[in-house]
Symmetry: C2
Subunit: 333 residues, 2 copies
């Protein structure tokens, strides 16, 4: 019998196919193949092909916008939002609109064109996390912004248009609906219990163990109870913390380690899948709170979203999270 | 300058790229190619390859589950939900679950393996609409169900696993979150204005004309003001009506005509795109109301949903709806 399961934070139901569940090899998809640097605008030496950098980590005192960087952050050459101007909210009959103000930046994570989080060093991934933090703290000074989403699209099937490994950042003047739902869901739970729902989940999941993928001293990675997608994974700090950008330096180190391990296992079990990774953190102005718990969501791209999902917001997940967690736990790399 | 636009019913914001907007030929995708019948379980003569039919339209008095049908509805051979049993709501620590009770049926729309809504006759599409109605009215008798979603996935990229043209129906014991948001949004607007928000949209859009794709005496097709996807289209009855299954027979006739015309234009302008089509109607038990207006959503599959969309619920649409509507208006077929 399939099961309906409810996400305890957002209240979203999913359908888990518990009977004819799909194993990693059952999914029809293509492994992400990296074809080669070929004029890649993100490769060292091609710095003029991107807008001037807003941040770079350089070990040897090399000049800005030239080779010699370990990591580089640049405005997106084709931004979905514009950085200049005012919001200018307007009506259009019964409709509402405003100027597309925001920041859209690209984090070029390493000079190595063909690296992935699995082949980068822990130190390189730690640098990436620090760059996320540095850019968030800087953009936060801009009073127009209410939220920053940091995300990574890996592989064309997950929406990546360039293959050189990179993340993106979009700063928004409004708190997105999906974020608002999650934060409000966590707040409601707190009002009822005076406890953080994510802290409760971590406690319960560590006790049961069946949905735990990985754990180190600071972080735990779970297959969530009601995941929208097969092999979805959440990386959560063990100690309550409401925002990513104020984590401690030992936490970034610890997070780099466990993230690298997760991606390596995903690459092994699912044969280099395309994936999306997103940081979920508190909106600006309410960064420090007792109810929301920042975390990272990792979603391999194995299934297609179709009419049923678009029409209902329900997701059909052909792999129970308990099985996904077991595959990933057992896949030592 | 890109624009944020807000959906007036759900409150969902989208980002519309107003400057470097994408024309139909800018999208990278494959046309839907129909390869051939080759043992297709939906073709006439193969009736034993599906579960026994629950409805069939037969012109010549042919026997059930044999050839001779114009349209056939069968339970899905691999249902995502099971029809037998009770809901049995249960807790699992802080989590909630229930049995996956529901109906999952397939509407085999025509015996012709390689037909699409553009090559089927108006009468054939009208039959399809009647079968949707007949199945909804029948399944509504089952008191366990609260909502039925009827949808069509056309092409592998849109999630279709069999190419013989078909729609699907899923009956659910809960009103999905996405439906609830839409119905509640419409209710709130009604409470404020004592008017249906969709009726107001239709009125305003017909006056402006820029987002109108097609119109006949009973229906209007618009590019919505804040569409998530390029070339998204909504088919709305002109006269207020809250549920699909109680429409008049002349309306099904009229809807068949305009739907066929829309799909033909989409196939021309976008070169046979994969697409999803969903009927949005009122939940059971509140079918007749003044605030919700049933409609059909049509979404060609031209872009990929990536990390930004998953993380925020915001969508980035590279084609302004005004331009999409013009392309479709101008594409006489």
């Amino acid at each position: 019998m399939p099961e309906f399961r409810k996400d305890p934070v957002t209240g979203r139901w999913v359908i888990i196919a518990t009977e004819r569940s799909k194993r990693p090899t059952d999914f029809v998809r293509e492994a992400v193949e990296i074809k080669g640097a070929n004029n890649c605008p993100f490769c060292p030496g091609n710095e003029t092909k991107t807008p001037p950098e807003v941040l770079a980590y350089r070990s040897n005192g090399s000049a800005p916008n030239s080779a010699g960087w370990r990591l580089r952050v640049v405005p997106n050459k084709f931004p979905v939002l514009g950085i200049e101007g005012e919001l200018n909210k307007q009506g259009e009959g019964l409709f509402d609109k405003m100027n597309g103000i925001g920041a859209h930046e690209v984090i070029i994570e390493t000079p190595g064109h063909d690296k992935t989080f699995a082949s980068m060093t822990e130190k390189e991934i730690e640098d990436v996390l620090w760059s996320f933090r540095d850019r968030m703290l800087d953009l936060k000074k801009d009073r127009r912004f209410r939220y920053i989403l940091i995300f990574k699209n890996h592989g064309a099937a997950a929406g990546a248009s360039l293959e050189h490994t990179h993340s993106q950042l979009i700063a928004l003047p409004i708190v997105p609906k999906r974020v608002r739902e999650e934060v409000d869901g966590a707040r409601k739970y707190f009002e009822l219990k005076e406890r953080c729902v994510y802290c409760d989940i971590i406690h319960q999941e560590r006790e049961h163990g069946v949905r735990i993928i990985l754990e180190n001293k600071d972080f735990v990675i779970t297959s969530p109870y009601a995941p929208r997608f097969p092999f979805e994974a959440h990386i959560l700090p063990k100690v309550h913390d409401s925002c990513f950008e104020e984590a401690q330096s030992y936490e970034y180190e610890s997070l780099a380690k466990i993230t690298r391990e997760l991606v390596a296992r995903m690459e092994k079990v699912l044969e280099r899948p395309a994936y999306n990774l997103m940081i979920h953190t508190s909106p600006f102005g309410e960064e420090r709170n007792d109810f929301y718990h920042w975390h990272i969501e990792f979603m391999p791209k194995l299934t297609k979203v179709a009419g049923f999902e678009w029409g209902t917001g329900f997701y059909i997940n052909p792999t129970p999270p308990e099985e996904a967690a077991k595959f990933l736990r057992d896949a030592a790399v």
